[in-house]
Amino acid sequence: MTETVPARGALDRARAVAWLQEYGVYAAVVALFAFNAVFTPHFLAADNFRTQLVQVAPIVIVSLGMALVIGTEGIDLSVGSVMALTASVVALYLGYGALPAIAMALLAGALVGAAGGALVAVVGVQPIVATLALLVGVRGLANVFLPQLREFTNPTLVALGSEAVAGVPIVVAVAAALVAAVAFLVRRTTFGRQLVAIGGNRAASRLSGLPVRRVLLAVYVLSGVLAAVAGVLATSRLQASDPTSLGLFMELSAITAVVVGGTPLSGGRVRVLGTVMGALLMQLLQATLIKHDLPQSWTQMAQAVIILAAVYAARERR
């Protein structure tokens, strides 16, 4: 292809745009961080960073699953309810010890994911509706299993939520590990590649012999399990199972994180680190507004603006 001189201008603009699409979120995080460093008292403190990371960890984990689902041109509204369900399942099985309880919780998450996946992949219901039904039903189920908040003192579980290894809170460590795992899954594995292709062109993927149904099913199961992990961590941090309010509106936070992180809702693309950054950005924003004691209404309006700005920067040009 010929590259003539007058084309330069266009190309440079294109590069700038590409850069913004790629690193806009990172820039925003840095900017907000800088702002706080200057204007927020006691911000530059190890404890503070720990707090922010610990609080963002569950959101990050849920967002990972959400990112995968969105990559397949789907969406999973059930994640918040899954967290609630795991909370009550943990409480129910804690009698057998922490590990069995956690195992059961993850299983529960997997099952809900499988249900959603089956609705989407096998029956062919649109993801948003399928998972909407789960959003409503599963939270109800969580409350049926455990009518009200229940505290626990199981040392293992409490430790999981409050201890740290080598200065890194376990919660954060787990999140980091999962980020790495998912990043690897998306970049290097057949599954990851197929997932993205299916999101990019379902029909073509089918005709190319990709196991569309299996991949979709697996993706929703993964999302369910990740939500369950988040649910367990949040529960262990709270030192109580609270199926009523745990994970309320989590689906929205997760979707926000994913999209702000530069993953298009139209599917065909998954940005893992971007998603993490997206979650971090929203967390920092929340923290900033709380630390400066601004009212709820401000928080929401500010979030609205940030979301728009971030997505605008990262949007697909044509």
Binding site: V125, V129, L134, G140, A142, I255, V259, A304, V311
Partner: protein
């Protein structure tokens, strides 16, 4: 050559199989069918169900959801989605109550104007920047609720409707039917004509079906999209105002999660979230359906509040699955 020129189109598409016809029927009238079935079941099971009072309540209560769902139908047919309606519903209510101090007109104009503007802005952003409607209106959801809270000092202030005439719009009845329901019917009629019998409606379907093609066919995509979101915001605000008139106060805790109910109503009504297909009749049936379900669940004695949720979840799933299975033939599973 005439031999083939006269060749009729392959039967595949002209003579639909009985299964296809069933599918098409369910696609169009599924919600209505289920609705009738439930009404019958309700009448049969509970004697306190098919009383004029009870049905009247359901109708009136569902009107607000229905009005919003009408706007949402336009949005979804155009291939978009509007998550901001719940917040706009609440905002509209507050503004109406506030405006009612300055008379009926203000009470109606203020919410419609502000929420309309809100929808307009969202529409402009979506249409001009091609950002995903889901995310833009998600921001709208937050923004509108934030605005509503800041107007009511974090929800502490509840403005009361001062204007009798305005309150009457929401509370009065005509021949035993609540005004809101009548208003809804009027809006429905107008919207149906707009969607089915005007160029605007055709364009909405075209954009939802294939946006790029529509653009190349000369459809003013940007303008149509903006108008669609404008309508949605406008109707959400109007519904909020009506509701405020009915409650004669601008309640600040309304509309949380309402957008999901509205979407459910539209989808149950047979409109595909993928856009380009669907209609208003189903939407209304869907809205009423949700009302009836809630009412029936209440009729069942001794059903714990948590179980009620499970039931509604299962029910929603059941409806969409039947839908999908029966109408699957049409937008092929293959």
């Amino acid at each position: 050559m005439t031999a083939q020129t006269a060749r009729p189109a392959p039967p595949a598409t002209t003579a639909p199989t009985s299964r296809e016809r069933a599918g098409r029927l369910f696609q169009r009238h599924g919600a209505l069918i289920v609705l009738c079935a439930l009404l019958a079941a309700g009448t049969f099971a509970f004697d306190s169900f098919t009383t004029p009072a009870n049905l009247g309540n359901i109708a009136t209560a569902s009107s607000f959801l229905a009005i919003i769902a009408i706007g949402m139908t336009f949005v979804i047919v155009s291939g978009g989605i509007d998550l901001s309606v719940g917040s706009l519903f609440a905002l509209g209510g507050v503004l109406a109550a506030y405006g009612s101090r300055h008379g009926t007109l203000a009470a109606l104009a203020l919410p419609v104007a502000v929420c309309g503007l809100f929808g307009l802005v969202q529409g402009v952003i979506i249409a001009r920047t091609r950002m995903a409607p889901f995310i833009v209106t998600l921001a709208g959801l937050l923004g509108a609720r934030g605005l509503m809270l800041s107007l009511t000092d974090e929800g502490a202030t509840t403005y009361l409707v001062e204007d009798e005439a305005f309150a009457a719009i929401g509370q009065g009845t005509l021949a035993g039917v609540g005004h809101p329901f009548l208003v809804m019917l009027v809006i429905l009629a107008a919207a149906a004509v707009l969607l089915q019998r005007t160029g605007f409606g055709q364009n909405v379907y075209a954009i939802g079906g294939n946006e790029d093609a529509a653009a190349l066919m000369g459809v003013p995509v940007t303008r149509i999209k903006i108008m669609v979101y404008l309508m949605s915001g406008l109707l959400a605000g109007l519904a909020g105002a009506l509701n405020a008139a009915r409650l004669s106060s601008g309640v600040t805790i309304l509309g949380i999660g309402l957008e999901l109910d509205v979407i459910a109503a539209v989808v149950i009504g047979g409109t595909l979230l993928t856009g380009g297909a669907g209609g208003l009749g189903g939407t209304i049936a869907g809205a009423l359906l949700l009302g009836v379900i809630q009412n029936l669940i209440n009729q069942i004695p001794g059903l714990s509040s948590s179980f009620q949720q499970v039931v509604s979840g299962v029910f929603l799933a059941a409806v969409v699955i039947t839908h999908r299975i029966l109408s699957g033939v049409r937008h092929g599973t293959t």
